[in-house]
């Protein structure tokens, strides 16, 4: 059975999306992407530093991947829209991760500005994946505005604290029709598996892989965990119970 994730007219087999931030060197990126199995990979846009030789990170992402530029650095909708247009002009497709942040302590997204940017960019034909704080009303508005998927955070960016927003994520997964992709905060493969068991359509992982001692090995572990969690979700998890329910027959004991 093919279990493909449909976003923006693409059919994606891997439900692990990979971020390229924080790698100690770009040369680790292709190995890690390959080990993860990821088909959607994020990059950022920054000003060229004319005084220092720089590499183009996009050239380290396998050409078979969908490149998803983010709008990091944007403090409002206008800046996010501008970054998205610049990214599209680079000729690497029309996917964009909207990221609007004006809080430097927790790096929590500005949901209001994120919604405004989503409205503009979806209308311009972008495949828009907004990163936001999980909130049902906002998610419904993002969906209505034309978001191709919604990407609620599990915990603050780079914190590795896992699914602290679990109850809100569950509500979004239950209510939102476009794919719900848990982005930010996932610190270990078991948390990625848990998100997938909950019914998340995919997860986006960066810090936990890029800053591991062995990024390709950690990427492989995440890929396996995401696949296992997805399979478990599709298999249908059983109910839990406060009391024990015997696994062996409760009749025919030898002392009867």
């Amino acid at each position: 059975m093919d279990d493909l994730l449909a976003i923006g007219g693409q059919k994606i087999a891997s439900r692990l999306f990979l971020g390229t931030g924080k790698f100690s060197a770009n040369r680790f990126i292709p190995l890690t992407v390959e080990a993860s199995g990821a088909q959607v990979v994020t990059v950022a846009l920054r000003r060229v530093d004319f005084d220092h030789a720089e590499e183009d990170v996009a050239s380290f992402v396998p050409p078979t991947c969908i490149l998803m530029p983010n709008t990091s650095g944007a403090r409002n909708a206008g800046e996010a829209v501008r970054l998205a247009r610049i990214a599209r002009a680079a000729g690497c497709g029309n996917w964009v991760k909207i990221e609007v942040i004006d809080d430097q302590k927790y790096l929590l997204p500005d949901n209001y500005e994120t919604l405004k940017a989503t409205e503009v960019l979806a209308a311009e034909g972008f495949v828009v994946l907004p990163y936001f704080s999980p909130d049902l009303t906002v998610a419904r508005r993002l969906e209505k505005a034309g978001a191709a998927a919604v990407m609620p955070l599990g915990s603050p960016i780079g914190s590795n604290r896992g699914l602290r927003t679990e109850e809100l994520l569950r509500i979004l997964i239950a209510e939102i029709k476009v794919p719900v992709i848990v982005d930010a905060g996932i610190g270990r493969p078991s948390e990625a598996a848990y998100a997938m068991e909950m019914g998340a359509a995919a997860v986006l992982v960066n810090t936990a892989i890029a800053t591991a001692q062995d990024p390709p090995a950690m990427a492989r572990a995440f890929g396996q965990a995401v696949a296992a969690g997805r399979t478990a979700y599709l298999a249908g998890l059983p109910e839990t119970s406060d009391l024990a329910r015997a696994s062996s027959p409760l009749t025919g004991f030898l002392y009867e």
Binding site: K22, T42, V43, A44, R47, D56, S59, P69, N70, S72
Partner: protein, 66 residues
């Protein structure tokens, strides 16, 4: 002639194009995106677009990011 490139004011010779400017700065063109006065310039526009006094040029590229 003064222009602003990536937020810094610079003195450049009059009459040079965006493409010539990038060559002078010895930056590999392959992966760049250029925005002039808030509007993205397509690659074919670079040789034809002559810089004017007060122009604001942004030269960006993809970097690592999550």
């Amino acid at each position: 002639m003064q222009v602003t490139v990536n937020g810094k004011t610079e003195e450049i010779p009059a009459g040079i194009s965006v493409a010539e400017y990038l060559d002078r700065r010895e930056v590999g063109r392959d992966s760049l995106v250029v925005e002039l006065n808030g509007t993205v310039l397509t690659r074919p526009e670079w040789p034809a677009r002559i810089l004017n006094t007060g122009d604001r040029l942004e030269v960006v590229r993809f970097v690592q990011g999550g």
